[in-house]
Symmetry: C2
Subunit: 104 residues, 2 copies
């Protein structure tokens, strides 16, 4: 199992429409990827390591797929459509990484 | 539900003993936090957003707790013991953040 993490930095003054993201963007990703996307999670940053400090990331999305190939097969054909939806909810550039799930 | 993410930056030349981390450190965290730690995951970075690029984080651990208070109650009393175990597997300083799980 792999996990693709999309992490939106917590930049002061940045725009992020949580409602559009949850109600429109993620359902679009889900619809386009179909069963290649096993499941996903969305987290909203609350604090950094020290209580009361700012979180490093405003939003973290994790997409779970069977393999890197499954992710590419699901996401690849729709990358243009999905990426062109991003400016509708944010002006942030996410940090993206693919990881192997070692403990699930 | 909240998630505490502990993200170890992928710094060239850094030391990280995956075996110690999985076999000794995480079991220690689990034993000390008891039922305050609902579950946890460990991911190993494979690539960045562009296939073949370096991942931003070498290892990402997510600890799931009922609330910020539950995390503090489980982790707080053992912070000294747990933190003093860290140099045994790495010389990296992790990025830590607490998030609210919006989609689970």
């Amino acid at each position: 199992m792999i996990k693709v993490s999309v992490m939106y930095p917590n930049k002061s003054g940045a725009r992020f429409d949580h409602e559009y993201y949850l109600q429109k963007h993620m359902p679009l990703v889900q619809a386009r990827m179909g069963d290649k996307l096993k499941t996903f999670s969305v987290d909203k940053g609350v604090a950094g390591g020290v209580p009361g400090s700012e979180p490093t990331y405003l939003v973290i999305c994790n997409m779970f797929c069977e393999s890197a190939e499954a992710f590419q097969a699901g996401f690849g054909p729709h990358v243009k459509e999905i990426m062109s939806d991003v400016p509708k909810y944010t002006d942030l550039t996410p940090v993206i990484q693919m990881s192997e799930v070692v403990v699930g």
